[in-house]
């Protein structure tokens, strides 16, 4: 019974675990190796710093990160964490990043709307005052908030990296709507835009964002060669960290919890064998 049950359970998991298919199609995301993969994986701080630079100089022109504050950059596991400054609000690097931004505020004396330099407690400012403004500046498309991007897309980091590096010339026979780009890694249904063999509709979809990265578009202070792949990889690492900034705390806590539970299970099993030793069952 037990063995049969396990076999059936395994079969069931195989069924449930198979990916749910949608009517839309897309290319499988590229296989990329990440330092933060697996139960012991950690973020590479230098990569997070480069990734933040890409976000700040390229992405943040259009994309908000409403869930992020400057202080997050200096917290444990963050791109600018410094063990000397346990409180990230005191981190001088974070403070100077924040100071570069002008934040809307109210003058407490006069009630006037004023601008003041940012502090580490401020949230990342939104590039647009509202959704309508964001759409107006982007041909009607709304650049999605990037705070949760690695959690909010099927495939996570691999998907983000593939989109950023996956732009290609639309195949002959495809009509690309104006203001859109073809990207094979974008989920979509191309059948309405395809004039050739209906059984060979290309996979992929249209994306309103033009290819955002270009060689040497961002200069890396640590001398890393600034290719499109490198920029994409770094900014993906940054976005993955930002989607779940407590990842490293979670994994190290988890390792301890697993070891504890393993030992506890072993002790309980030994007790079980001993207590039941004289009972025929």
């Amino acid at each position: 019974m037990l063995r049969k049950g396990f076999a059936i359970a395994a079969l069931g998991l195989a069924f449930i675990g198979s990916p749910t298919l949608a009517a839309t199609t897309q290319e499988e995301p590229k296989a990329v190796h990440w330092s933060f993969e697996g139960p012991l994986g950690k973020f590479d701080q230098a990569q997070l710093q480069r990734g933040y630079k890409v976000y700040r100089e390229v992405c943040s022109a259009c994309h908000s990160m409403n869930l992020m504050s400057f202080r997050n950059l200096g917290q444990k596991g963050g791109p600018f964490y410094d063990p000397e400054f346990k409180n990230p609000n005191d981190n001088p690097y974070v403070k100077s990043i924040a100071k570069d931004y002008q934040i809307d505020d109210i003058d407490s004396e006069t009630g006037d709307v004023v601008k003041r330099p940012g502090t580490s407690a401020d949230k990342f400012p939104n590039p647009f005052p509202n959704e309508a403004a964001a759409r107006a500046s982007n041909g009607g498309a709304l650049p999605p908030d990037l705070s949760d991007m690695a959690k909010a897309r099927e495939g996570g980091p691999a998907y983000i990296y593939s989109i950023l590096t996956g732009y290609e010339e639309a195949p002959k026979g495809m009509t690309v709507p104006s203001g859109k780009q073809y990207n094979p890694y974008m989920p979509g249904d191309m059948s309405g835009f395809w004039s050739l063999d209906p059984n060979k509709v290309p996979v992929g979809g249209f994306i309103a964002m033009p290819p955002p990265l270009a060689p040497d578009k961002v200069s890396f202070d640590d001398g890393t060669k600034s290719t499109v792949e490198q920029q994409a990889k770094d900014v993906t690492a940054f976005l993955t960290w930002a989607s779940d900034p407590k990842t490293e705390e979670r994994k190290s806590f988890g390792l301890a919890a697993m070891i504890y539970l393993l030992i506890f299970s072993g002790l309980l099993y030994a007790s079980y064998r001993r207590i039941w030793a004289n009972i025929a069952h």
């Binding site: 049969k4 198979s18 869930l67 025929a280």
Partner: protein, 439 residues
């Protein structure tokens, strides 16, 4: 909770309390001295595992409620605030979210165990019915809880499920409006779902109390399905089953922890990390994995009202089961034919789960187009769901009632101790393990 009590108050305080509120006696009789069949296998540890699941969900849920904001503009950000800014908030939230999946995983094993060993048969019908009530409350609670983060799937899932009630003729639309607290799923809906999501777990806990009470009157069933005949057949619950259940709970927690710490979002849908937007419908609305079989049954029926009826009927079958199964033999160990149909039933529920996660028009065998029946290709998920749904209902309405009257069961042991003592592994070397009694 019932029957003879062996509790003897020792200290003066215990004696004083025992004649006023015999609560120590209750505890002693229920979880220390309670005579339990000695042949319970690991499938019987899931009751204890479920009690732990309920406890974890209530404790983590109370903490989450301290930080959560039930408002359409703030719910999503408040959940992220819990994950990002609250000390160990990520732990509490991931335990709660994955805990729901673990709870359902355990309850499904627990239910299949009851089905296999005939734990719903006399005198345990009320015990089984209370279990069905708990399961229904769990489904409602889980559904409402899934709405609370107010992501895309939360919102659109709530729209789809609440709209099902609108399929009821005449009064359906009015009930839906009443349930929503308005004319669409919106802030009042979120608030009442939060309120009810907080209330229902305590109702579950109450029914669990009744479930355990109803268990302790007839006592545990066991893998042989044979009644306890003598003291030889049982061991006291403590320490024998506290340690066995404890070990199983610890192993279960290991698996649970593997999800919470290393793959916390594997069982959820990525789309639910996109804030709810009523104007953008996700490409593919699916419930969490544990409700997929019911979703497949719903979509297998072409008519909306009949789909809802069949989905409700799938749960109603469980309530009727004690009176549908006509066999007097409890355990399927001694019912080889029924055993075969049972394993097919288990696979069929998993096929239904698979179908629930697919689009109805997806092909089962890729690239093969057969002929159209009832507006769908035979080689499609919707037809597989239909066949599986048919088996699901046939199992309860035809197979179990007929089989109990026609099958020839294997000989059952005289008592629980008999197969235990005659088990080849326990028999003295060279002794014949009563071959005449073995099927």
């Amino acid at each position: 909770m019932s029957g003879h009590s062996n509790y003897e108050p020792k200290s003066g305080f215990e004696k004083w309390l025992d004649v006023r509120l015999p609560i120590i006696r209750l505890g002693y009789d229920s979880i220390v001295d309670f005579p339990t069949p000695k042949n319970l296998n690991y499938w019987y540890t899931f009751g204890g595992i479920l009690a732990v699941c309920l406890g974890i969900q209530i404790v983590t849920g109370i903490i989450l409620a301290m930080h959560y904001v039930a408002h359409v503009d703030m719910a999503f950000a408040s959940v992220e605030h819990i994950m990002r800014d609250v000390n160990y908030g990520w732990l509490v939230r991931y335990m709660h979210a994955n805990g729901a999946s673990m709870f359902f995983l355990a309850v499904y094993v627990h239910m299949f165990r009851g089905l296999y060993y005939g734990s719903y048969k006399a005198p345990r019908e009320v015990l089984w019915l209370l279990g069905c009530v708990i399961y229904m409350l769990m489904i409602i609670t889980a559904f409402m809880g899934y709405v609370l983060p107010w992501g895309q799937m939360s919102f659109h899932g709530a729209v789809v499920i609440t709209n099902l009630i609108g399929a009821i003729p005449v009064i359906g639309p009015a009930i839906t409006t009443w349930l929503w607290g308005g004319f669409a799923v919106d802030d009042p809906t979120l608030n009442r779902f939060f309120s009810l999501h907080y209330l229902l777990p305590f109702m579950i806990a109450g029914v669990v109390g009744l479930h355990i009470w109803a268990l302790h009157v007839p006592g545990n069933n066991n893998p042989t399905g044979v009644n306890v005949k003598s003291k030889e057949d049982t061991v006291p619950f403590h320490p024998y089953y506290t340690v066995k259940d404890g070990f199983a709970i610890s192993v279960f927690l290991l698996m649970y922890a593997a999800f919470v710490f290393f793959n916390p979002n594997a069982l959820g849908d990525a789309v639910n990390y996109v804030p709810a937007n009523p104007l953008v419908t996700p490409a593919h609305i699916v419930p969490e994995w544990y409700l997929l079989p019911f979703y497949a049954i719903l979509r297998a029926v072409p008519d909306k009202l009949m789909g809802v009826v069949f989905m409700g009927g799938a749960i109603a079958m469980l309530f009727l089961l004690p009176w549908l199964d006509t066999s007097k033999v409890r355990s399927m160990r001694y019912r080889p034919t029924a055993k075969l149909y049972f394993f097919i039933f288990v696979i069929v529920t998993m096929i239904l789960g698979y179908c629930g996660g697919q689009l109805p028009d997806n092909k089962i065998i890729p690239g093969l187009t057969t002929f159209q029946v009832a507006a769908s290709d035979l080689n499609s998920v919707v037809w597989l769901s239909r066949l599986a749904t048919a088996y699901y209902f046939a199992y309860f309405l035809i197979i179990l009632p007929v089989l109990g009257l026609t099958e020839t069961p294997l000989p059952q042991p005289e008592s629980i101790s008999e197969p235990v003592l005659s088990h080849p592994a326990n028999a003295p070397a060279g002794a014949a393990a009563s071959p005449e009694k073995r099927g």
